[in-house]
């Protein structure tokens, strides 16, 4: 039986990754250092606030963000008090802060990369044509696949966790930023141009403010995706709440993984409601 030769796609990718680590090790190290200091800065900052102040602070923040006159705001405030209190009581506060720092660091990178990319994709048809398949791959590729090169490039720990999370959660922000900007009414753009605005003024004074609800929806979506990546990232030593879940799975300890899981959900709900509120506030 004649066999069709297998295309050595896997080999090529492995070799490519080897080549990159061999020749660009220094730059990778610099990136790694930068991300590492970003995470520790965030983590230390968050830990500096005592738990008994931190939790009420979140409750107050939800009242401010959603508007204290509205019953929903009080609902979220109560939920924060009891939910975060529960996490603390379960001795998972330390893990929660670590997870939060990881997600925030990843989100910061996502904002830095994602918003300019979204603007670029909105302005140029060519850019959109090139970006679309790349974003499709990033979004549909199983999240585990990012972990291996992340580990090879950056070793084990928090840094590859942040990198993998960033790549995984980037697409919705790019897409929603581009969508929001493209949906700014043509008449509004014409009006702005008719007053002699520069490209930068058009972008900064009209397109971004008008697209802001959509951009905030993108921010919200990317944070949510980032949180869902946390558990997976713990497999390469990213720590945090994901670690609890992972340990629970490996030890067949249903209770332990449930406790870790519910903590992630509590954190997710609070962040989701808060970022949504920031997005909607501008509309009213």
């Amino acid at each position: 039986m004649t066999s069709i030769p297998t295309i050595p796609l896997g080999h090529w990718v492995s070799h490519g990754v080897d080549y990159l680590t061999a020749h660009y090790g220094a730059s990778l190290n610099a990136v790694s250092h930068f991300i590492h200091s970003l995470i520790s800065l965030l983590e230390h900052g968050l830990r500096a606030v005592p738990v008994l102040i931190f939790i009420p602070l979140v409750a107050v923040l939800s009242l401010l963000a959603l508007g204290w006159q509205r019953p929903r705001a009080w609902g979220l405030a109560l939920f924060s008090l009891f939910g975060l209190g529960l996490v603390w009581d379960l001795h998972l506060w330390h893990a929660l802060i670590q997870t939060l720092a990881l997600v925030l660091a990843a989100e910061l990178l996502i904002l830095i990369v994602g918003i300019p990319l979204g603007i670029f994709a909105a302005q140029s048809h060519l850019a959109e044509k090139i970006l679309r398949p790349i974003l499709d791959v990033m979004q549909t590729m199983p999240a585990f696949v990012y972990l291996v090169p992340a580990v090879i490039f950056f070793g084990l720990g928090l840094v590859p966790g942040v990198i993998a999370t960033t790549i995984f959660a980037l697409p919705p922000l790019v897409r929603l930023t581009a969508l929001g900007i493209r949906q700014v009414p043509a008449e509004l753009v014409e009006a702005t141009e008719s007053f002699g605005a520069t490209w930068w003024q058009l972008l900064w004074k009209v397109q971004i403010p008008t697209a802001l609800p959509s951009i905030m929806a993108g921010v919200n979506q990317s944070i949510m995706l980032g949180l869902s990546m946390v558990v997976i990232a713990s497999m390469i030593g990213a720590g945090g709440l994901g670690n609890e879940v992972l340990q629970g799975i490996t030890q067949l300890d249903v209770g332990k993984s449930f406790v870790g899981g519910i903590s992630v959900v509590i954190l997710a709900i609070i962040i989701d409601r808060l970022t949504q509120a920031f997005g909607q506030q501008r509309k009213e």
Partner: protein, 428 residues
């Protein structure tokens, strides 16, 4: 500034949208229509080979149905669209050849634009929207606030400064749009179907306001509209476009009385002539009149000969002394001269008075109106029958020949009683 200088000159401007630009222009030059060109090349024709001058200080209305290219033409003026061919001169400088920075400077200095759907920033207040153009120019906050406040008062928006655009009614939103366009005190206002999205009463109000503002500010206004009544009301001159080509340019009276072709006349059919035609357009010459020096016998003979029951009294200097009717003259039959007591006052009107106002006077006073010039001399007369005849042209659906042959209908002279007036109108 010279009022009759061309502020904007459009020279052989064409705009087509699509890849086969060259081919499309060639076909258009050969006389193919918009739809034929589109079928053959896939190119959408905006406008083709339009040349016209827009004068400083006038309201110039560009009119046509949707797809006629009127908005495209407007956008060529401030280069929101790039012309495919031809040139557009603003104050003698070719806009199509400007560098990006020069174009921005021109847009900031010379143009204010108002849009059909307002184009306001929803996240800004009225004040924030009005000062937008000034902000683009980099004018300091306090200065632009002050100027914005002034313009807000000009358009009647005081008290709404801190409201968001989306909270206002359409008419109010368009006032914001107008204020925004006026804020930088541009020389030229470009208005793209600015009042078309508003309901009729609000639209008419804003038209009046625009005319009033124009009286004070004396801008050059280019106004795009699909509504003939609006064009006739606002326009000092009107350009009519069809399928991307210019059909006719003229002042409202010309458009109404000499439509260039079938297309324009069908447009004109629906127009309210009474708001456009003036006393000058419809008045009759005074063929028979009494002289204050006439004896009663002479006046009676004049009445008999002309068949009228009353005459205007006009002296040799064509000055109006009043109106005299048959019974009054009869009562003085034996006298040597007419007594001035018998002259009844007769309403007068300026030659530029609109028909709609003359109708009001004639129904109120029940007598004809003498048309007088600036030196109070009688130049003509308007009565019920003249008005009916002028308006009746409308209902017949005027044909080109009819209008060219006789813009002012022939009817009996002034001072005909109402019953006769109707029969003479229907007979004409």
């Amino acid at each position: 500034m010279d009022q009759n200088a061309a502020k904007i000159e459009i020279r052989h401007a064409s705009k087509v949208f699509g890849r086969e630009e060259r081919l499309a222009l060639d076909l258009l030059d050969k006389g193919l229509s918009k739809s034929e060109v589109q079928k053959r090349t896939g190119v959408v024709v905006g406008i083709h080979d339009i040349s016209l001058n827009i004068l400083a200080g006038e309201i110039f209305v560009i009119m046509g149905l949707s797809g006629s290219g009127k908005s495209t033409l407007l956008r060529l003026i401030n280069r929101l669209h790039e012309a495919s061919r031809g040139s557009i001169l603003v104050d003698g400088v070719d806009v199509t050849k400007m560098k990006a920075s020069e174009l921005r400077a021109l847009r900031r200095r010379a143009f204010g634009m108002v849009f059909q759907n307002f184009g306001l920033l929803p996240q800004r207040t009225v004040l924030g929207n009005v000062e937008f153009g000034l902000e683009i120019q980099g004018i300091p906050r306090s200065q632009r606030r002050e100027r914005a406040q002034e313009v807000i008062e000009t358009v009647g928006l005081q008290g709404y400064e801190q409201r968001y655009a989306a909270e206002l009614s359409g008419g109010m939103q368009q006032r914001v749009g107008l204020a925004r366009a006026l804020a930088a005190d541009p020389e030229i206002l470009l208005m793209d179907e600015a009042f078309s999205a508003l309901d009729p009463i609000i639209r008419s109000q804003l038209q009046d306001d625009l005319l009033e503002i124009q009286d004070r500010l004396n801008k050059t206004i280019v106004f795009v509209s699909h509504d003939l009544d609006e064009a006739l009301k606002l326009g000092n001159r009107i350009a009519i476009l069809r399928d991307g080509r210019l059909i006719q340019v003229g002042d409202p009276q010309e458009i109404l009385s000499h439509p260039a072709d079938e297309y324009v006349s069908t447009f004109v059919e629906g127009a309210d002539r009474s708001k456009v035609l003036t006393a000058r357009d419809v008045m009759q010459n005074v063929r028979t009149a009494a002289n204050p020096k006439d004896s009663p016998r002479v006046v009676l003979r004049k009445m008999e000969r002309s068949g009228f029951g009353g005459l205007m009294v006009i002296d040799n200097g064509r000055r109006l002394h009043g109106y005299i009717d048959l019974s009054a003259v009869r009562s003085q039959r034996e006298k040597e001269q007419l007594s001035t007591d018998l002259f009844r006052p007769i309403p007068t009107a300026d030659a530029n008075a609109k028909l709609v106002d003359l109708i009001q006077i004639i129904t109120d006073k029940g007598s004809p109106v003498a048309v007088i010039d600036a030196r109070q001399r009688v130049i003509g007369v308007v009565d019920k029958s003249t008005i009916l005849a002028a308006l009746a042209q409308n209902d017949d659906g005027p044909t080109v020949e009819e209008n060219h042959a006789d813009p002012t209908p022939a009817v009996a002279m002034a001072s005909v009683p109402a019953s006769q007036a109707e029969s003479s109108a229907s007979g004409s």
